[in-house]
Point group: C3
Chain length 482, copies 3
């Protein structure tokens, strides 16, 4: 405590000149000060200890077998639990919940100390109460703080890396939380206080989640894929087999896959932009932006990014499937067959410039569309997104996004061309699959065109800037999101 | 203030043992302490308030209608402006500039307080003076600090994400700035002090910018694309129509696009490395690295990354346009036509091994070039760049960069092969387009080769390490950038 | 010092109300306080100074020629070394090691000051001792701290960017280190204390390293590429020349490249997952996870990411080489030749549905495999990795990883099909190359299948959760890494 006293007692010249060294934060962290205790010498305990030592803390491990607890980060010492508990005012509990019971015996030594519960469970709802709650029950005299559990041992050891910089903590005692948040800050993390210990359950479930925000979009993708796959199997393979009696089941592997991919991709891309348009119309209808959207719309809006990325994935497969066409045995066979038949029947096919135009524009649209697609994908990489100003991100995601939708839809229209006129396309009175894929994007484009009509656009902008048809006063509630 | 007093008065044992809890930073942020006020309950106000509450501050909202100001982050309370103003020493003004006028009435309550202006405008130069300046004019007695306006409400609510971690602030009062920067630090942001309030205008313009550093490169790209597009339209389509009287306008969609893309890509790639070479020669000529480059060169150097990425985009399109060739109606028609005519005229074409060599090397060079291209692109993703040590980044961008230029240029030479000898290539006495695209890269490669001559390289290295032909002393001014 | 004194003396009402402004951190950084000195006005000195000024410090430069030391960041002033040294308690030495000697004369002025050595060398082991050690020898009276040298002047000027947020420092004096780490923290960096000054050498070598973790994987890649290249050259080109006397050397550029790429890619992909499987078996055999792996396995494990990424690179080239096939002169020639001969000999080839099935599945597997490949690549981008929870990352890298291996291996089997039965495949009694490429992945898949047998999997999971066949107690040493 030497230095604190210094600071409180006389203010000597020397002290003044050394002010940099003696500034509070300085003393607060000068190694003499901070002695922390870690219970448990497992991977997590070691990683945490190593990082703490690197940051200038002193660390004492509490272990059942202090002398045979395996390699510890050098600089740290191990004691039995009692001694370790007494040594410090703050204890990290890096122990499996199953073994918490031994802590009960330490209640007296842990009286009034800060206990940091960093534990996680292997699966959700394994126990009636959160680990941290349980810990508090065991040692009522201590101030339990739940923290650090959302970090991997890896990032605990190596310090924060770009995305997972945040440490969530919760607890009932403000000072205890403050002490922990201070340590987290020194370790280079940004602290987010989630309130009282009752939030511990939520924090403990966090690391167990597996792509929650991807669930819905993936379900949609799988559903669409399954539906259209069976659709084309029936219209292409089964139909050919039943009606024309010829077996082209081999087409499943590439040809049909290459029908399903673009269809699903196009639909999901439009599903990614549709909610935005719906929201706009809702705001226009309500005349305000301050009323919450219905839950289904909220949920939909929240997974737009995922919808878009999955759509990109399917587009990518579509491109590969398309480019592989000319190498296919089937295609080569057909082509040479065609040539041969021409010779034998002594036909001469004439070059049709319109077909050339159509086919080439069709490919060109597809290529440009895919190019923009990729651009959207890149711009949604975390690091890229974060490097963009809000306005830039908005420009890419909306302007370029709709351009992509337009290109891809146009690409599909060119593919269909006048095919929809031929009755042969309607096998068993069902429209060709590409046809169905055009519904959603077409609707989307029409709605979007309505929205960019000057008159509509103007009132929408005003609403988005906080103006309300009901009461104009909230206007001043709107600033930066624009 | 309890704790501050503690800290100043007697130093009890208890205090000692709890030193962790009582360390200054601790007290500084112990919830009793920090009460902040937010004017305006709009999106931004709410987001900011929520984050402040999460980080352990207490928040009071000032609103015109404290009882009907919509949902507030729980934990916060709303008062009328007067009461709110009196409650805290620091006030965030989350209100549209248009509504600042009401603040004038609060001058007495805001006397001596810190006012944080977070506002932005919808477009640049909307008002004669910066919002913050205007605010200071309204309440001369308060210390106005401009801050947080460069962050989106989103990142204010969720805390800093990797790239946009920086909070810019400016103001005339050092202590006021310090108070704000302290809050920003606790929220997990890194503070950058931009000096006096006169910098406010600059800060307010920041979020309004739209890819400023991309402007120039995009203009160059568009210019080149337009020029070469018309060039090839004339030499390929118009010429064929006028001279040979045949209409192959359909070639515009793919064939010509696939001529323009690689040309623009190659030129822009070399434009991305040219300034570096020019700078090197300039330094050699001047015999020092301490004199500034001419502005045009500086500007050029600053947009190298963008030039390269746009070049990559065009290369990507070129690849797709090339791979799509064999599926094209036109190509298939030509091929089978060729085969048929062979049969009819009973010719047998002989396999030319040289052509095979040339064609395959041509493709191989292109593929390897594109591979490196992609590598350069990936390495310029923010998160990747930041993971590289300076030396590693330099290695990739220069060594691999020039290798890419070489491969792509060689690829183009192989494409041209001996075509430039045939008079037929010179339609209307103009050289073929690919020909023009070779000028810049060839020059670049020659210059680069000169630079890596041992003698030249040696003196350049010395200059780059700080040696000066004029005065050798500045040598010690050079350290880490090497 | 005004404010410090305030804080220590009486606690006036005014002080209370202004508590936010006067909180320690506040005073600690209030501009009056922090005066820092920088020796050397080179690029690094300027960059560092500018950033310090932006963050609210005052900066004085020490220069040999204070009046002609070129442009300094505005706000800073330059003095001769003596005056500068006296002005501050902390001095950044931004000078080339070669010029340290002049510092010896300043020993008296630097007595008791903190000297921050930020220097680096141009190559490793240039000097017997670390620059910082040398500095300490020169001025024994000062507290030397090595810091900031791992940052580029760029990031020193612009503040931390996502990945390189860490400042490594080392030194023998705790308070000196604390003072420096405090400055680093204010600049927005996360400090990692590497211990005593003896670590300086390590820190100085750090910026000089060039992809250390890529060395081994690249060597492996080059070795495999070379071996298989010669292998296919012999079996395809040389054999054809010697035995059949025909020269198809042109095939080297594309055909052979397209044999080598997939082979190397597949082998390296399996090499990327093999160590994990080996480790699992080792743990099963030892019955514990707490014993270190043999070094070779550790090193192997550490470069898995790099192995995978290089494999992806080769896969990418393989895809391009494959897609370019139908445009090749050779291929087109062969195809039309085939057609022609068919006509002439009046053969009619019949469509073989099985071949179609096989060929198409072969392509489909390849496409899906490559799609997953890309996904793995994307998920290993720093920013993406960091955005994933540990469980998510683990899911992608293991589950999807093995799926990729499976697809690609199956793809290769389909390619080979029954070819291995034909004696013609065994030129000079050597198996076809693709054959060799199947060994490693096949082994990997078999081993993996063994591991996911319920019984094996169960005991492995228990071991991974900390259970030990020898002593069960360490169980509680296991938490988050699962």
């Amino acid at each position: 405590m030497a230095m604190t006293i210094d600071r409180l007692s006389g203010v000597s010249k020397e002290l003044m000149s050394e002010s940099i060294l003696l500034c509070p934060l300085g003393t607060a962290a000068a190694p003499e000060q901070k002695l922390l205790c870690i219970f448990g010498t497992g991977d997590l305990g070691r990683s945490l200890g190593q990082r703490l030592l690197q940051t200038g803390y002193r660390v004492i491990y509490g272990s059942r077998r202090p002398h045979s607890c395996g390699p510890l980060p050098q600089g740290a010492q191990a004691m039995d639990y009692e001694a370790a508990a007494l040594s410090a005012t703050l204890v990290f509990v890096c122990v499996h919940r199953e073994h918490y019971d031994f802590l009960e015996a330490l209640a007296p030594q842990l009286q009034g100390k800060v206990l940091v519960d960093v534990s996680n469970n292997i699966k959700k709802n394994l126990y009636p109460e959160a680990n941290a709650e349980y810990l508090r029950r065991l040692i009522p005299g201590a101030h339990v703080v739940k923290a650090f559990n959302t970090l991997s041992a890896w990032s605990l050891q190596n310090g924060p890396s770009d995305a997972n910089r945040q440490v969530y903590l919760c607890g009932n005692d403000a000072e205890a939380k403050q002490a922990v948040s201070e340590i987290a800050t020194k370790l280079g993390f940004a602290v987010v206080d989630k309130g009282s210990l009752s939030a511990a359950r939520e924090l403990e479930d966090f690391p167990l989640q597996l792509f929650p925000e991807w669930r819905l979009p993936l379900r949609v993708a799988i559903g669409l894929t399954a539906f259209f796959f069976f659709y084309v199997v029936i219209t292409d393979v089964v139909y050919a087999y039943v009606v024309q009696g010829k077996d082209n089941s081999f087409r499943i592997m590439v040809s049909l896959a290459n029908k399903v991919c673009p269809i699903v991709s196009l639909i999901m891309l439009s599903l990614c932009y549709l909610p935005g348009v719906i929201a706009a119309f809702l705001q226009l209808y309500r005349g305000t932006k301050y009323r919450r959207f219905p839950d289904w719309l909220d949920r939909w809006m929240l997974c737009r990014k995922q919808l878009g990325l999955i759509a990109l994935g399917f587009a990518f497969l579509h491109v590969l499937y398309t480019l592989v066409i000319p190498i296919r045995y089937y295609v080569r066979f057909k082509i040479s067959e065609g040539t041969i038949s021409q010779i034998r029947e002594n036909r001469t096919s004439v070059f049709d410039s319109t077909t050339a135009w159509r086919a080439d524009s069709y490919y060109s649209m597809g290529i440009l569309g895919f190019g923009l697609y990729i651009l959207l994908g890149i711009s949604s990489l975390p690091s890229v997104t974060n490097a963009l100003s809000w306005r830039e991100f908005n420009f890419i995601q909306s302007k370029l996004g709709y351009l992509t939708v337009f290109f891809c839809t146009f690409h599909t229209y060119l593919y269909g061309w006048n095919r929809f006129l031929r009755p042969s396309s309607y096998k068993w009175y069902t429209p060709p699959a590409y046809f169905l894929s055009l519904v959603v994007p077409s609707v989307l484009i029409v709605l979007k065109l309505l929205l960019i009509l000057p008159c509509v656009d103007r009132s929408l902008t005003r609403i988005r800037q906080g103006w309300e048809r009901t009461s104009p006063e909230d206007g001043n509630k709107r600033a930066l999101l624009m």
